[in-house]
Structures are given as structure tokens and as C-alpha cells.
Symmetry: C2
């Protein structure tokens, strides 16, 4: 997606050697117009897949998932990272290791909100090591629902997540594939 | 907002004596159509206030803020709850105590994303004890921006947050005011 790549080049910052900070439009401040056009791209790619539900993970996936769901006219379910007082039993869950936060956490979805009759599209902001996406796919599997695929805003193609999830049979569609970050510069595939 | 009240009556669950669980459409699964109409109501109330930015707090505020911002055509900034590897210095911050999670946490916004020339509308899912809203107002104050007001989806009017924030001079607009929860039943103002 050309607009997205240009925006990454303009506003993205390479932090350390493999962290791409896009807080200006995706992870802290949200450019709603851009995110809506991103949602449109995911719709164009997956509209014939019979999607009944969009699944993402808090927090950074929520806005993109919301503006994608607007095109599909289906509900969003966001996986939560830790149980809170308002949550009860009957959950689908997976253990996920976050390299960014350097810790293991449990993600979960209440079993009320995904069922075997659903066809689930996973939406997330980043694909890097693939742990979050594999965790979400595991949750979909537990529910008995079908996985339509995954729409990713930015794939860090120099990390191993892309291969990992594609080898697991997941249909992954990334709008910007970063192949290399070096000396503050960002390079894309094709 | 009548549609919202009916939805709370249909899908809301009273947990313990003062926790209202609305995971079916607002806090875990998101009804995108309803949230978009909620955003429309906030726009109707605040459209003449010169809003340049919408501020919320992760995670449950993000979807409502996103679908509100679509009507205003302004960016969303969501306050984060804990620093991560991709965040640097220069933040506006506030300490907030969460009664639901029974812990104190720091919320922060990078100083890049709110400035003295902004007029900020705060959007949040719940107003209960008012701590989150006061924290967000403090962040707006630190930035030098003006606070246009606050749009709240559900106000638990039997807790003291509403009085607290209105006495602090904040223009609060709540779409559903719950006055009482008793024996699993939910009562609204007017």
C-alpha cells in the first residue's frame, strides 16, 4: 500500500536495530483516515472469504480492527492480556511471548464471543516474530471457528514471524513489508 | 441514548454490587454499528467546540474514540498505561488508581501528540470514580491544550466520579446514566 509506505518513511523512526516506532499514526496517535483506508484494503483482499468476526489483540490492534470491521459490517473481538475483575471462566487462551516487552503473557477470549460457526479474520498492527498471531490462531482453533486469514499493517520481513505463520498455513496479507532497517533507513519489499 | 440503554438492559450483566459487565458490545466484543452511532452522538454534542484531537485511554476507550474521531475527522491519541521499549522521554503523565483492577498505574501521552494549540475532547467507555478522566484532564492541562469536554458511554451515577469531574469544571456528556444496580437489575436516570 503505497500511501502507508510513504507514511512509514515520513513518520517512522528506527529505534535500536529492529524496533520500528510508528507512534505518530498507528501505535499512540491514530490517523483515522489512513486507518480507514487500510481497513478498505483488508476488505478488498478478504471480502469474499465469508468473514463473520474480526479478532485482534489489545491495544494497538483495536483501532485498525475497528475500522476494518466497518467495511465488513461484522463485530470485533479483542483478545485481552490479563484477567480483570469483570472476567469469568470459559475462555480460549494462549501463551504469548512479547519480545518488545520482554515478557510472557496470557491472551484470552471469552468463549461467548467466538463459536464453531464463525469465520474469523485476524487483524494486527505488526507481524515480527509471529507469536501474537500464532496465539490468536490457537484461540480460533480452540473455538472450532475457521480462520479466514490475517491482515497485517506492517510486516517486519527480516524477522522470522512471516515464514513461521505462513508455514503454519495461515493466509497472511501484509500492507507494508519492511525487508531491512539500517542506519535509520527503512527498506521495503518490491 | 435509547438504543444504548436498551442494549445495556439486554446484554449487560451486574457482577458483584457495582460492576457492570458489557463485554458483549463495548469491552471485549465490539458492536461497530452501535459504536459508530455513539460517535455520532458525541459529534452532535461537541461538533461546535472546535475539537482538534480526541484523547482516550487504552484499551476499552480506543474503539469508541476511533469511531467518534471518524465524525470529527481529527486524530485520536490514546494514553498508555505503562512505558514500553518503543517509548522515550518527554511525556505528559498522571497517576491513576483503578478500582476495578485494584492497582495504581501511570498513564502517559508523548508530548509530541498534544500541544497548546489543541482543543481536546476526552472519550471514555465508563465514568465511575472519575480517576481516569481526572488523569486525562491533568495530561491535557500539562500540554497547555484546552479541554473541550468529555464524552462518556456509560456513567455509573451512583458512584462519585460524575460529581467529582463536574465540580472540577469538566463538561461531561454521558449517553447512559445508570443510577442504581440492584438484584441484577439496572436502572437509568430519566
Amino acid at each position: 500500500m503505497e500511501e502507508l509506505k510513504q507514511r512509514i518513511l515520513r513518520d517512522g523512526h528506527v529505534i535500536h536495530k529492529d524496533v520500528l516506532k510508528v507512534d505518530g499514526f498507528l501505535n499512540h496517535q491514530l490517523d483515522i483516515g489512513l486507518l480507514d483506508r487500510i481497513g478498505e484494503q483488508f476488505y478488498a483482499r478478504f471480502h469474499s472469504a465469508g468473514v463473520t468476526k474480526i479478532l485482534t489483540i489489545e491495544s494497538s490492534g483495536i483501532a485498525v480492527a475497528t475500522l476494518t470491521a466497518r467495511h465488513f459490517m461484522v463485530p470485533v473481538v479483542f483478545a485481552r492480556k490479563a484477567p480483570s475483575l469483570t472476567h469469568l471462566d470459559d475462555k480460549f487462551s494462549a501463551e504469548v511471548y512479547s519480545y518488545t516487552q520482554r515478557k510472557q503473557f496470557t491472551i484470552f477470549v471469552s468463549s461467548e464471543y467466538i463459536s464453531h460457526s464463525d469465520k474469523v479474520l485476524v487483524i494486527d498492527d505488526f507481524l515480527a516474530n509471529g507469536q501474537a498471531l500464532l496465539g490468536l490462531a490457537k484461540i480460533v482453533h480452540q473455538s472450532g471457528a475457521a480462520l479466514a486469514g490475517a491482515g497485517i499493517v506492517i510486516e517486519k520481513a527480516f524477522q522470522d514471524g512471516g515464514d513461521l505463520v505462513r508455514n503454519a498455513g495461515i493466509d497472511v496479507f501484509s500492507l507494508a513489508k519492511v525487508t531491512k532497517m539500517s542506519h535509520g533507513k527503512i527498506y521495503f519489499a518490491d
